[in-house]
């Protein structure tokens, strides 16, 4: 009775929660629609899901336009600031593109459609929540909400052993990572006596870093290193990516990875700034090893999806680089945040685009081999040119979007200055040359080699795929030529680090 008497209705700002509410309603709606639609009209669940994602963008926009600087809810555990709004928008749009990628794939592939979109939306809901979670508990819940549906989606091609393997590996390693992370979190809670990120920061600032804290932070970082598939915690990624349905692979490599980075950013910027000596060297090593190993292994791949998997590991290494210098100075801190957010946005556009092409091409070739791209330029010049744009954007060649992402990472490192930062930047520079080789290799196949089986019937691109390609290609090109558009979001994205508004 005492507890109940203490309980007071928290003052909830429904406007701030509107994106989540819209999305949650869409989740329910998809489930209901699936219940009442007959088999021929199941595709409508996809439409509902897509509309739900776009609908959730509306409150994100109104929140962004409102004058109120940041809305702090639940005693500081849930914060809607510019940072979270930018990333919510990113996740919603990325989710929408994934739905565009999925529609024909799921419709033609004899899948359970309703459940597919239900799980996809749930996972996006987790991502939207993770951008605002400033409390260990809400962070963990959001993370699980986005991960658990993803485990199931990875195994969605249930008659294919490879897909089963993909889901199983992803599940086992993901759960293991969650366990490690949770252990670290509980240690942190034990010493700091709070789960609020801001509370942890004030504890660390006053008490310093004793061994328990070091262990806790290392465990948490390692847990997220699994999520963002940083080497040496990346082993699940290539198999999962190859086995999962291709739209889900795109989803995992872009959105799920970005969610991991968002959580890391919040921890590093809000909870752990005082313990920078613990995590900065850790990120330095993780970044250097991740991009180097990812790139070197990608060189040897013959399957396009596996190549993109390793490339996404390597790109993850690039995104980790600025985290190694966050604590060096105020300027470096801001530049690092801009760099990571910018990179996530650009990376989402170009990588989703590349997967859209893979989907379109494999509709004809029924193959995932890089060799099957041979002669694409001869019979599908449009797709070949778009793929070229995405690949060289991933490689960071101006004037395509990827250059500004790489550039802002280098900028953050040199802004911090010092031998270690510049050293990491040089490693990054060399890595971008290595990466070019395997991206160019695919371009070489498309432009310079003959069609392997001589079949040059043109590829019919379904409307939804074409829409996805239009969105991603336009974003990749426009960002590259007018980078201000996306850098402004990066700049806007200052994380609110205080508990009170």
């Amino acid at each position: 009775m005492y507890v109940l008497a203490q309980w007071a209705q928290p003052n909830i700002d429904y406007h701030a929660l509107a994106p989540e509410i819209v999305l949650a309603s869409a989740v329910v709606l998809v489930l209901l629609a699936d219940l009442f639609l007959d088999e021929r009209r199941k595709w409508m669940t996809g439409t509902v899901a897509g509309l739900g994602l776009l609908g959730a963008l509306i409150p994100v926009a109104t929140l962004a336009l409102s004058d109120q600087p940041a809305r702090v809810l639940l005693g500081g555990g849930y914060v809607v600031d510019d940072f979270s709004l930018v990333l919510k928008a990113l996740f919603l749009i990325a989710g929408y593109v994934v739905i565009l990628l999925s529609t024909t794939y799921v419709d033609e592939g004899d899948f359970y459609q309703g459940e597919y979109y239900f799980l996809l939306l749930s996972s996006v809901l987790g991502m939207v929540m993770i951008t605002s979670s400033r409390d260990l508990v809400s962070l963990f819940i959001a993370l699980e909400l986005l991960s658990v549906p993803a485990y199931m989606l990875a195994a969605w091609r249930k008659r294919d052993p490879k897909s089963n393997e993909a889901g199983m590996k992803y599940f086992l390693l993901g759960v293991f990572a969650s366990g490690v992370m949770l252990y670290g979190m509980s240690l942190l809670y034990g010493v700091a006596d709070t789960t609020l990120l801001t509370g942890i920061e004030s504890y660390l600032a006053s008490a310093g870093t004793d061994p328990v804290v070091v262990v806790a932070i290392v465990f948490i970082v390692v847990g997220f290193a699994f999520k963002v598939s940083a080497v040496p915690f990346h082993t699940w990624a290539p198999d999962t990516y190859e086995g999962a349905p291709t739209p889900i692979t795109a989803f995992l490599s872009v959105a799920s990875k970005a969610a991991g980075f968002v959580a890391l950013l919040q921890l590093v910027f809000v909870a752990f700034p005082s313990a920078k000596d613990v995590w900065q060297p850790l990120f330095w090593v993780l970044a250097a090893v991740t991009m180097t190993v990812g790139n070197l292994v990608a060189l040897r791949q013959t399957n396009i999806v596996r190549m993109l998997a390793y490339s996404s590991i390597a790109q993850g290494g690039f995104i980790l680089m600025p985290l190694a210098v966050v604590g060096e100075s105020e300027a470096a801190r801001n530049d690092a945040l801009t760099a990571v957010v910018t990179y996530l946005i650009v990376y989402a556009a170009m990588n989703l685009g590349a997967f859209a092409i893979v989907l379109a091409v494999s509709r004809k070739t029924r193959s995932g081999e890089i060799a099957s791209f041979g002669g694409l330029f001869d019979y599908a010049p449009g797709l070949a040119v778009l793929m070229t744009i995405f690949l060289f954007s991933l490689a960071g060649v101006p004037p395509l979007g990827g250059w500004i992402a790489k550039f802002s990472v280098f900028r953050a490192l040199l802004s911090a200055g010092g031998g270690w930062a510049v050293g990491l930047a040089v490693i990054g520079g060399i890595n971008s040359v290595i990466a070019l080789y395997y991206y160019a290799n695919v371009a070489k196949k498309m432009w310079m080699e003959p069609v392997p089986d001589g079949d040059t019937t043109p590829i019919r691109v379904p409307q939804s795929l074409a829409a996805a390609l239009a969105i991603t290609a336009a974003a990749t090109l426009v960002i590259g030529i007018l980078p201000n558009l996306v850098l402004r979001f990066g700049e806007l994205g200052h994380i609110v680090t205080t508990a009170s508004p």
């Binding site: 280098f410 520079g429 060399i430 070019l436 160019a440 070489k444």
Partner: protein
């Protein structure tokens, strides 16, 4: 710093007009080859037209100032602005770039290389032009970087799709080398930015604010820029991509590579690396000179060993760019003038030689020197032009090549104050030996291919001579302007020196002129 802002739209128009052509060509089906040629020619000619307007409107009394200066917002967040401007150093290269592209497109009229597809080929050429034109007018390091890199993709595909036997190897090698250089260059740009207070990427601003940087840091930053530009030039030992790229590229690609792309590197030195970091440049200058003369001798020796005409011309580029870099390394206005003249002259002459090599290949289906002979009897006009260009290339007085080479050698007699005179005089002697070698390999090439009687397999009536004919109309139209320019600049070198000198004085002002 005073700027002239009259007509400040012309540079953007000159840079981006080719892009209009690209957009139009996107909507023309692939089979309409003639229309593609017409649109591409029109777009590049429009760009050249704007260029000629630039030539007329340029205030030659103020060639040391940036003219047609435009400064607009671009990427506020990183303090990078869209700044374009043109002074006497950029003007010749800017016009050269526009003119060469127009002539190359004319030449393409009946020379679309295998496997065809004029649409893609010409579109890539126009995109290439945007990058090249832009690099010569960009006055902001990030803008410069973007233009500098835009050329990579089109050239990669030009070599890789329309090139020779080893095209795939050559194209990726070109790409990887250049990207390696430019990523270090970009780090150098960023280091410059942060070491000058993170205010601006404007070249002028940086040049005025680098005094405060610790000398050691300056040396490192210069090293980064040096590698970026030296790969592009290319200087020994970063040159190995060049012979492959040149040999495998289609004729048009080789011409543009030789005439313009290599100049992006040397232009980077005279526009950015040296004026912005004069102290570091002063410390590095003897080493640059050293690598330059190695390039001269090494390039010449390699030429003597070549059996393929195109590869020989490619290696002669290494040697000629060595002269340009030697002139630059003296850090004197005399040396800089020689260097920029050398860039223009090399662009015209070597570009022309590659045109000729392409036409010879088309007629004989081989470029192996020992199989070619007696061109003068079989196609006298082409043979004479080859002779003319060989003479121009070896630096015959009265033709353009002379004014790039001779003053460069002369300038190393008295390098800028503080540079070791003995060393540079040694360089001078070695470079002079290089000119003798140049005469050797060029005359030898000419003697073997043009003189005498045709070899048995290409003699009349043996069945292999059906493609051998003298110059065709598109070739005439494409080549005549270049030949006239070679003579005109050879006889009136002041046409160029007068334009460049005021701007060069500014660039070397840190070294006492």
């Amino acid at each position: 710093m005073e700027h002239l802002t009259d007509y400040n739209w012309v540079l953007s128009a000159g840079v981006f007009l080719p892009l209009v052509g690209v957009v139009v060509m996107l909507f023309i089906p692939r089979s309409e080859e003639l229309w593609h040629k017409i649109v591409a020619l029109a777009a590049s000619a429009a760009s050249l037209g704007v260029g000629i307007f630039t030539l007329i409107a340029f205030d030659y009394d103020k060639a040391d100032k940036l003219q047609f200066y435009a400064d607009n917002r671009w990427i506020d967040v990183i303090h990078s602005r869209y700044i374009v401007g043109l002074d006497g150093m950029s003007l010749p290269l800017y016009i050269l770039s526009m003119a060469i592209v127009v002539l190359t497109i004319v030449y393409s009229w009946n020379h679309i290389p295998h496997p065809g597809n004029a649409k893609a080929f010409l579109m890539l050429m126009l995109i290439l032009e945007v990058g090249m034109n832009g690099t010569f007018v960009a006055q902001d390091l990030i803008l410069f970087f973007v233009f500098f890199e835009i050329v990579l993709l089109p050239m990669y595909f030009m070599i890789g799709v329309w090139g020779g036997e080893e095209r795939q190897y050559a194209s990726i090698k070109f790409f990887l080398f250049t990207l390696f250089g430019s990523s270090l260059m970009l780090l150098g740009f960023l280091a410059l930015f942060f070491n000058t207070g993170a205010q601006s990427f404007s070249i002028e601003y940086l040049a005025a604010h680098t005094n405060g940087i610790v000398h050691n840091t300056q040396l490192w930053i210069f090293a980064g820029l040096f590698i970026g530009f030296a790969v592009k030039v290319p200087m020994f030992p970063f040159h190995t991509w060049l012979p492959d790229a040149h040999t495998q590229a289609p004729t048009q690609g080789s011409v543009i590579l030789a005439a313009i792309l290599l100049k992006l590197g040397t232009y980077g030195f005279v526009r950015i690396a040296i004026p912005v970091l004069p102290d570091a440049a002063h410390s590095w200058a003897p080493w640059i000179g050293f690598l330059a003369v190695i390039g001269i001798i090494y390039g010449a020796l390699c030429c003597l060993a070549q059996t393929d005409m195109k590869r020989l011309i490619a290696f002669s580029s290494v040697a000629h760019m060595g002269f340009v870099m030697l002139g630059i390394s003296t850090l004197t206005s005399f040396g800089f003038n020689a260097a920029i003249f050398g860039m223009v002259a090399h662009g015209l002459i070597t570009g022309m030689l590659f045109f000729l090599a392409g036409s010879v290949k088309e007629r004989y289906h081989t470029l192996e020197i020992k199989r070619l002979s007696g061109m003068l009897t079989q196609m006298p006009r082409l043979g004479w032009i080859l002779g003319f260009c060989a003479m121009a290339s070896l630096g015959l007085p009265g033709l353009a090549g002379f004014w790039g080479e001779f003053p460069a050698i002369l300038s190393s007699y008295s390098p800028a104050a503080g540079l070791p005179e003995e060393t540079f005089r040694t360089f001078m002697v070695v470079a002079a030996v290089g000119t003798v070698l140049a005469a050797g390999y060029l005359l030898w090439l000419y003697q073997r291919t043009a003189f005498g009687e045709p070899t048995a397999e290409f003699a009349a009536g043996h069945g292999h001579d059906q493609d051998i004919h003298d110059i065709e109309l598109p070739e005439y139209i494409a080549w005549t302007p270049i030949l006239i320019a070679i003579i005109a600049l050879g006889v009136f070198p002041n046409l160029l020196f007068k334009v460049m000198d005021p701007a060069v004085q500014v660039a070397v002002s840190a070294f006492g002129g």
